[in-house]
C-alpha cells in the first residue's frame, strides 16, 4: 500500500472507532430520557413514591451516560473536518445546514435543560422540572432526527445539484434532501432500536435485582415496564426492519446482496442463507445453510422472483461482504431473541409469575447488553454496506479524506483508542456499579446536591420537600 492508502485506512478505522463508541451513549440516552420522562410523569400523576425513586435511580445513570455522550459527540462534529475534509468541502452545502439545525434545535435544548433536570428540582418545582425532563427527552429525539437525515442522505442522496466547483448544492427545496428516500425508514428503525436498547438495559438491571430479592418494589416495577416494552416494541421493530430492508433493496441493492451473501444472481428465486462463511475470493458462501427461495419470498414476496447478485456489480463497487453479512446476522439474531423474551414475559404475566420465573430473569440479565450489540451491528451493516462510497454511488471514500500524513492519523488513532478505552471503560464500570445497587425506598439524589431528609415514604413526600 502506498502512504495515502494507509492514511485513508487509518482515518476510516478512527472514524469507525470513535463513532461506534459514541453511538453506544445516545442509543442509551434517547431511550433513557424518554423513560425518565415517563417515570416523572407517572409520579406526578399518581404520587406513588416508587416512580420518584426509580426516577432518581436512573437519573444518576443518565447523568454519567449523557456526559460520555456529549464529549464523544463533540469529537464527531470536528472529525468530519479533521479527517474527511474533501467530503466536508463537497457535501458541506447540503449536510452542513442539517447538522447546524441539529445544534440549534437539539444540542442546546438538551444541554440547556440538563442542568435543571439534574440539579434543579429544589429550585423550580415539580411541574417545571417535568418540563425540563421533557425538553431533554425531546432534544435527544430531535438530535436523532437531524443526524439520521444526514446519514440517510449519504445513503440515498436526493434533491441536490452538482456545482461547477465540484460541490453538492441544494436544489429548489430542502424537503427532498431532509426526507430523502431512506430517511423515514432509518429514523423509525433507529429510534425503536434506541428504545429497545434501553428497555433491555433496564430490564436486565431489574431482573438482576429480582434474582436477589423478588420483593423489591423498584426492581419489580422497572422489570415489568421493560418487559412491556420488549413485548410490544420488539415485534414492531421486526416489521420496521423489514420495511427498511425493502427500502434498501430498492435504493441500495448492492448492500442487500452483501447482507444476503448473494454472490451469484438467482433468476428463479434466491435462497435465504441462514449461516455460512462468505468467501469473496471464490465468490461463494462456504458451508452455507440455506432455505431455498426464501430470500426472494422475503424481499420480493414471491418465491420465484429473480434476484440479482454481486456478479452484476464491478468488484471495485462492492462493499466488504463478510463484515456486512455477519453484522446483519448478529443484529437479526438478537432482534429475534428480543421478541422471544417479550413473548416469554407475556406468558409469565398471564401465568402471574412475572416476578417469580427465575429463568426468565436470568435470560433478561443475559440480554441486558443485547441492545447495544444489536445497534452497533445494525450500524456496521448499513455503514460498511455503503462502501466503497461516502455518498452512495457519487463520492468514493478514497476521494473523501483529508490530505493528512499517515503518521498523523496513526498517532491520533492511537490516542483515541487509549483515551476512549481508559475513560469510557471507567465510565462503563461506574455505570455497572450504579446498576449493581438495588433501587431503594430512599433513593438518594445526585451527589453534590443538598439532601436533608430522604423520605419518599410515605408516598405523599415529594422531592422538593427534601432540598434546601
Amino acid at each position: 500500500m502506498i502512504e495515502q492508502d494507509w492514511a485513508i485506512l487509518l482515518a476510516r478505522i478512527q472514524f469507525a472507532f470513535t463513532v461506534s463508541f459514541h453511538f453506544l451513549f445516545p442509543a442509551f440516552t434517547i431511550g433513557l430520557a424518554s423513560f425518565l420522562a415517563v417515570l416523572e410523569g407517572l409520579w406526578l400523576k399518581t404520587g406513588k413514591g416508587v416512580y420518584a425513586n426509580l426516577y432518581r435511580y436512573w437519573l444518576k445513570i443518565f447523568a454519567v451516560v449523557f456526559a460520555m455522550g456529549v464529549v464523544s459527540g463533540i469529537v464527531m462534529s470536528y472529525q468530519f473536518g479533521t479527517n474527511w475534509s474533501v467530503f466536508s468541502d463537497k457535501a458541506g452545502p447540503v449536510i452542513g445546514p442539517l447538522m447546524a439545525y441539529e445544534v440549534l434545535t437539539a444540542f442546546f435544548l438538551e444541554a440547556g435543560f440538563l442542568g435543571v433536570m439534574l440539579f434543579g428540582i429544589n429550585k423550580v418545582g415539580r411541574k417545571l422540572h417535568f418540563v425540563a425532563t421533557l425538553a431533554v427527552a425531546l432534544g435527544t429525539f430531535i438530535s436523532a432526527f437531524w443526524i439520521l437525515s444526514v446519514n440517510s442522505w449519504m445513503q440515498t442522496p436526493a434533491g441536490f445539484e452538482m456545482g461547477a466547483n465540484g460541490q453538492f448544492l441544494p436544489g429548489d427545496s430542502w424537503l427532498p434532501i431532509i426526507f430523502n428516500p431512506s430517511f423515514p425508514y432509518r429514523l423509525v428503525h433507529t429510534v425503536l432500536a434506541a428504545y429497545l436498547t434501553t428497555a433491555f438495559a433496564v430490564g436486565g438491571v431489574g431482573a438482576w435485582h429480582l434474582l436477589k430479592n423478588r420483593q423489591n418494589p423498584g426492581a419489580r416495577k422497572m422489570f415489568s415496564m421493560a418487559m412491556w416494552m420488549a413485548a410490544i416494541v420488539a415485534p414492531i421493530q421486526v416489521v420496521a426492519g423489514d420495511f427498511h430492508g425493502l427500502n434498501t433493496l430498492e435504493h441500495q441493492p448492492v448492500k442487500v446482496m452483501a447482507m444476503e451473501g448473494h454472490y451469484q444472481s438467482h433468476p428463479d428465486g434466491a435462497p435465504l442463507i441462514l449461516f455460512g462463511i462468505p468467501n469473496s475470493k471464490e465468490k461463494r458462501v462456504d458451508y452455507a445453510i440455506e432455505i431455498p427461495k426464501a430470500s426472494s419470498l422475503i424481499l420480493k414476496h414471491d418465491p420465484n422472483a429473480p434476484l440479482k447478485g454481486l456478479d452484476t456489480v464491478p468488484d471495485a463497487d462492492e462493499p466488504p461482504v463478510g463484515i456486512v453479512f455477519w453484522a446483519f446476522r448478529i443484529m437479526v439474531g438478537l432482534g429475534m431473541a428480543m421478541v422471544g423474551i417479550g413473548l416469554w414475559s407475556l406468558f409469565a404475566r398471564v401465568r402471574r409469575r412475572l416476578y417469580d420465573m427465575t429463568w426468565l430473569h436470568r435470560a433478561a440479565v443475559a440480554m441486558g447488553p443485547s441492545g447495544f450489540i444489536a445497534v452497533l451491528a445494525g450500524w456496521v451493516t448499513t455503514e460498511v454496506g455503503r462502501q466503497p462510497f461516502t455518498i452512495h454511488g457519487l463520492l468514493r471514500t478514497a476521494d473523501s479524506a483529508s490530505p493528512l500524513d499517515a503518521p498523523a492519523v496513526a498517532a491520533s488513532l492511537l490516542a483515541f483508542v487509549v483515551v476512549y478505552f481508559a475513560v469510557f471503560g471507567m465510565g462503563i464500570w461506574y455505570l455497572l456499579r450504579l446498576m449493581k445497587k438495588p433501587p431503594e425506598a430512599h433513593e438518594a439524589a445526585l451527589d453534590g446536591m443538598p439532601i436533608r431528609s430522604a423520605g419518599i415514604t410515605p408516598a405523599a413526600a415529594v422531592i422538593e420537600g427534601e432540598g434546601a
Binding site: 456526559a67 469529537v75 474533501v86 447546524a100 438538551e110 500524513d405 498517532a411 475513560v423
Partner: protein, 332 residues
C-alpha cells in the same frame, strides 16, 4: 439583496464570542482547580459550573457546525491544518467533561479525576490558543485544500497565543468564583484575579505586537493613516477597561470584575476581527470565497433567526435558576 455571507460571518463571530463568554470561565476553573483546597472549596468551585458547563460547551459545536454549514471550504481547510491541536483539544474536553460526573461517582479516585479535570482544561485551552495563533500566522493553502505538514501549527507565536489563552481563561475562572463563592475561596479568587489580570495584559501586549509582524495585511490595517485613528481606540479602550476592572476588584464587587474581564476579551476579539476581516482563513481565504451557496444560507438563517433567541432565552433562564452564591452542596 443583503449579503447573507456577512450576516453568517456575524453569526459565527457571535458563536465564538458566546463560547468565550460562557466556556472560558468554566475551563478557567479547571485550570485553577489544583490551587483550591481539597474538599469544600473544590466541591464549591465544581458545583458553581456543574449545571451549565454542558450548555456552554455547545457553543463550541455551534461554532464549528456553523462553519461547516456556512463556510464549508474554510472548515475543510482549517481543521486538517490544525489537526494535532484539534485532536488534543477534543481529548482534553473528554477528560474534563467526564470528570464532572466521575469525581462524584468514585470518591476513592477523586484526586485522579480532579487532575484529569485540570489537565483536560489546560490542554483544551492551550490547544484553542495554539489554533488561533496558527491561523493568524498563516497556513499553507493550495487550491481548495490545506497543503502544509502536520506540524506547521507549531511556532513560538502559536505557543504564545496558547499560553495567553490559558492565562485569560484562568482570569475568567477566578472572576467567576469571586462572583459565585464566599469566604476563603472568594478571597483566594480575588487574589488570583488581580495577578492574572496583570499577566494577561502583558500577554495581550506581546501577542498584539507579534501579530503586527506576521502578515503585511495586519501591519497595514493597524498602523497606516488614517486607519490608525480608528484602530488606536482598541488599545485605548483596553487601558480604560483595565482600570475599571481593577477598581471593581478593589471595591469588592461580585459580578463586575467578571464582566470587565469579559470586556477585555471582547476587545481582543474586536482587535482580531480588525486584523483578519473579511477573511475566514486569515490572509488566505475570504468569507465570500468560502461561503456556502445562497440556498444553504437562507435555509439556515431561518433556523438561526428563530432558534438563537429561544436558545438565549432558556440559557438565561437556566443561569437565573442557578443564580446567587454556591456552596459545597450546590447552589443555595
Amino acid at each position: 439583496m443583503t449579503d447573507l455571507t456577512i450576516i453568517w460571518a456575524g453569526i459565527i463571530g457571535f458563536a465564538i464570542i458566546a463560547y468565550v463568554v460562557m466556556d472560558g470561565f468554566d475551563l478557567g476553573i479547571g485550570i485553577l482547580f489544583p490551587f483550591f483546597k481539597v474538599g469544600k472549596d473544590r466541591d464549591a468551585a465544581m458545583n458553581s459550573i456543574a449545571p451549565v458547563w454542558d450548555g456552554n460547551e455547545t457553543w463550541l459545536v455551534m461554532g464549528v457546525g456553523g462553519l461547516l454549514a456556512a463556510f464549508p471550504l474554510a472548515y475543510a481547510i482549517i481543521l486538517p491544518a490544525l489537526y494535532a491541536p484539534m485532536i488534543a483539544m477534543l481529548l482534553g474536553l473528554v477528560f474534563r467533561g467526564v470528570a464532572f460526573e466521575f469525581r462524584w461517582r468514585d470518591p476513592a479516585h477523586r484526586e485522579f479525576w480532579d487532575r484529569a479535570f485540570t489537565l483536560g482544561s489546560i490542554v483544551a485551552t492551550f490547544a484553542q490558543g495554539i489554533a488561533l495563533g496558527a491561523l493568524l500566522q498563516g497556513i499553507t493553502v493550495e487550491g481548495r485544500a490545506y497543503a502544509g505538514g502536520w506540524w506547521e501549527w507549531l511556532s513560538p507565536f502559536s505557543l504564545l497565543t496558547g499560553a495567553g489563552l490559558v492565562v485569560g481563561y484562568a482570569l475568567l475562572g477566578a472572576c467567576w468564583l469571586n462572583w459565585k463563592t464566599e469566604d476563603a475561596l472568594q478571597r483566594q479568587a480575588v487574589t488570583y484575579a488581580g495577578r492574572l489580570g496583570i499577566l494577561l495584559l502583558a500577554m495581550i501586549g506581546a501577542i498584539s505586537l507579534a501579530t503586527l509582524t506576521l502578515e503585511p495585511q495586519y501591519h497595514q490595517r493597524w498602523l497606516s493613516f488614517p486607519g490608525v485613528l480608528a484602530t488606536a481606540q482598541v488599545p485605548l479602550a483596553t487601558v480604560i477597561v483595565t482600570f475599571l476592572f481593577y477598581r471593581s476588584l478593589r471595591l469588592k464587587r461580585d459580578a463586575q470584575p467578571f464582566l470587565w474581564a469579559l470586556a477585555l476579551f471582547g476587545l481582543c476579539l474586536v482587535g482580531l476581527g480588525l486584523s483578519i476581516w473579511p477573511d475566514v482563513v486569515p490572509a488566505r481565504v475570504t468569507i465570500w470565497e468560502a461561503a456556502a451557496p445562497h440556498r444553504s444560507q437562507v435555509f439556515m438563517l431561518v433556523g438561526a433567526a428563530i432558534m438563537v433567541p429561544i436558545i438565549l432565552a432558556y440559557t438565561a433562564w437556566s443561569y437565573w435558576v442557578f443564580r446567587g452564591k454556591v456552596g459545597p452542596d450546590g447552589y443555595h
